[in-house]
């Protein structure tokens, strides 16, 4: 190859062209074209997404991409949301922050999901990045309001502070007062997860007052209904608003003040919050309902008639999150009123109750599938299902991309025929050709996995619980699902055979989680030995896995691809099957 080709572009031109390429996939493709493109691309990559913080080390990222301005990291496996991952497992962000503090002085955006973030980490962020703009802590934990105070005080141009679903040690509401008077740049503030009874409300009001670009504000439960009007009048430009608790004694002046405040928000499209709802205050929303595209009522313990009334005012609704108090009747109303609906999530009001407390069955979901042709994303908790209903849903909604069904009692069969639900889920994967995410429940045999392996070619994430008969089930999935990235399995009779036969597949995936299955310690060791590109970690809180025979099944297993080798921060109950590590033990 000649060193200078007549038709090659100068670097600046290529850089300029590359700046229009935002998606990671495309950027990765660009970097593979030739060495010079690789070099140019890596110097101008500004955004990095790391789906598993242990797949690569901070140093490796910094070495390859020296000029990053925005980073997104994910830590714990998804099943950590349901307490299957013990505390202390890992996902610490501190080392990342420490290394980036030195290498990326211009880092402006940090987005973390399921990571352990300490006050020390937050203080380090506050100190190290002069141009810090965006902090999103999604389902994180380990920090307190002291750490938030450091961020508020130091980040002069903070645009976004989003703590959604994180666990914060609420020491004092006064951290909000740490935002200096000169801070006017906030665009998004989500403090809905904070528990404190003393959110410094006056500090919040003043902050909202001086931030004219504030578009998204989610208050926490401690903020009372009578305070909402004050906030909204200071921020009529809001597009996305989360109330605090929505309860008060019905008083006409409070009501009209609230209704007036809502109606002055001409841009408001999305609402959430609604803890402790007093239904009589819902009509205060009616003036903005026609514009609403997203409504999160998943904490609102209101009954179906009130929900129906509200929803019938929202013809443009695209996204609805709600408790199963909505019942089949409410969903039927939704199906007839909200033709633009794309996403529906129905959560259980009484997940541990044995008898159904509400009249929500498969009928509600069938009605929505019939009435809402744009439906793409479903999360549905219910207590009974039938193959016939699933087939109907599949045929009505071929555009589904995410389908998560949770039938509350494990191994529940088709309530009409008492058959397994294999055929129903089979219809889902067969008809919904763009399905990317699927969660299974109910009584399921190996057959359902055969369908999934055959039809689920675009499936990227699969969650399985209490299903299957044998290794064949797992084998179908691993050998058939070409796009599979994340697989999480609990309480299934899947063992060594399928895992070992498909070991190479694991290198093409982000991660595999298996708990309470039948994978032996010996198989784990073998995988760790033979597959150097995988980290194979066994989790056992009761005793070391090698204190038992090799044929003994492990409690929990987490396998993920990594170029960083085994991690250094494993707690005593996590064992790496990497050979090198074993020698050091």
């Amino acid at each position: 190859m000649q060193k200078e080709m007549a038709y090659s572009f100068p670097d600046e031109v290529l850089k300029h062209v590359f700046s229009f390429i935002q998606s990671d996939k495309d950027r990765n493709a660009v970097s593979l074209v030739c060495k010079s493109w690789y070099e140019i691309e890596r110097w101008c990559r500004r955004k990095v997404f790391i789906g598993n913080c242990y797949a690569v080390s901070p140093r490796m990222v910094i070495r390859r991409f020296p000029e990053v301005r925005s980073i997104e990291l994910k830590g714990k496996p998804h099943f950590a949301d349901f307490n299957l991952v013990p505390d202390g497992w890992g996902g610490y962000v501190l080392q990342w922050i420490a290394e980036m503090a030195g290498a990326y002085p211009w880092l402006g955006e940090i987005r973390l999901k399921r990571m352990v973030v300490t006050d020390e980490s937050l203080e380090l962020i506050a100190k190290s990045f002069k141009n810090f703009k965006v902090l999103v802590l999604f389902s994180c934990e380990g920090f307190s309001t002291d750490g938030l105070a450091a961020i508020a005080a130091s980040c002069k141009n903070l645009r976004e502070l989003d703590l959604r679903e994180s666990e914060v040690d609420d020491l004092s509401g006064h951290w909000l007062a740490q935002f200096p008077e000169t801070c006017t740049s906030l665009v998004s503030l989500n403090i809905s997860c904070l528990g404190s009874d003393e959110v410094s409300f006056s500090a919040l009001e003043r902050l909202v007052d001086r931030c004219p670009n504030l578009r998204s504000l989610q208050l926490n439960r401690a903020v009372t209904l009578d305070k909402i009007a004050n906030i909204l009048r200071r921020a009529p430009q809001l597009v996305d608003f989360g109330t605090g608790n929505y309860a008060a004694e019905l008083q006409p002046d409070v009501f009209s003040n609230l209704a007036g405040a809502f109606s002055s928000c001409k841009e408001l499209k999305s609402l959430s919050g609604f803890w402790d709802v007093v239904p009589a205050y819902l009509p205060a929303l009616y003036s903005i309902c026609p514009r609403l595209t997203s409504l999160n009522l998943s904490y609102a313990t209101i009954q179906s008639p009130d929900l129906i009334k509200l929803v019938s005012h929202c013809p443009r609704l695209q996204r609805l999150l709600v408790l199963d108090y909505v019942e089949d009747s409410g969903l039927e109303e939704l199906a007839s009123s909200c033709k633009d609906l794309q996403e529906l999530r129905v959560f259980p009001s009484d997940p541990f109750g044995v008898e159904p407390n509400v009249s929500l069955t498969e009928q509600g979901l069938v009605a929505v599938s019939l009435g809402c042709p744009k439906l793409q994303s479903v999360l549905y908790f219910c207590r009974r299902m039938s193959n016939a209903a699933l087939v109907t849903i599949a045929q009505n909604c071929p555009n589904l991309t995410r389908f998560r069904l949770c039938i509350i009692e494990p191994k529940t069969p088709d309530y009409l025929t008492l058959d397994p639900l294999d055929a129903g889920f089979g219809a889902i994967v067969e008809h919904c050709k763009d399905l990317r995410r699927l969660s299974l429940s109910g009584l399921l045999t190996d057959h359902v996995f055969e369908y999934i392996g055959t039809y689920g070619k675009k499936l990227e994430m699969l969650s399985v619980a209490f299903a299957g008969d044998s290794d064949l089930g797992l084998h179908h999935v691993l050998s058939g699902c070409e796009s599979l990235r994340k697989l999480e399995i609990r309480d299934c009779p899947f063992g060594d055979k399928a895992l070992l036969a498909n070991a190479a597949k694991l290198e093409t995936m982000r991660s595999l989680w298996m708990s309470s299955c039948a994978v032996s310690f010996g198989a784990c060791k073998l995988l760790g030995q033979k597959m150097p590109k995988l980290n194979v970690e066994v989790i056992d809180e009761t005793e070391p896995p090698d204190s038992r025979p090799e044929s003994y099944p492990v409690d929990k297993l987490y396998i993920y691809k990594s170029v960083a080798g085994p991690r250094f921060d494993m707690p005593p109950f996590v064992w790496s099957m990497d050979e090198a590590v074993k020698i050091l033990h």
């Binding site: 505390d87 959560f347 084998h475 070992l500 995988l527 099944p553």
Partner: protein, 184 residues
Amino acid sequence: MENDLNLKATELRLGLPGSDEPERQMIPRPNKRTLSDIVSEGSTSTTEEDHQDTAPPAKVQIVGWPPVRSYRKNCLQGKKDEVEGGTGMYVKVSVDGAPYLRKIDLKVYRSYPQLLLALENMFKLTIGAYSEREGYNGSDYAPTYEDRDGDWMLVGDVPWEMFISSCKRLRIMKGSEARGLGCV
């Protein structure tokens, strides 16, 4: 339809090369309840008859099922109370001498014996029996808890319902230290 994974065709197998894969049995772990112990057939029974010797009598919830996040579960309970700990849902458990905290969901347990058994299993220690007069004297460890008023009490001093509604966090103390608490 294949009913054999043709394991020999793959490189990876357990056992020495040249020997056939030994037949492996599933060895149940001691104290581990199998799924059939935990989950009753069909849907609605809550009675004691489902369980065998080692399992506690009432239907105990399966960890992490249904898959609902803890902050959601907590929100549906005490409406005005704080999300974390105030109504006896997820509470932190610390053990003297152990570096890691654990969190447990008190709602999963129906009685003190169930809770104590779970703690013993989780931390591999013995707590022994509670007696009104002597607390946990004679045990290596004694479970204590911090209640809503900030006082540290011996687990078992108050009726169960009162305990779970007021317990904010648990601390399993070394037996010697716990003698200051409780009734003695």
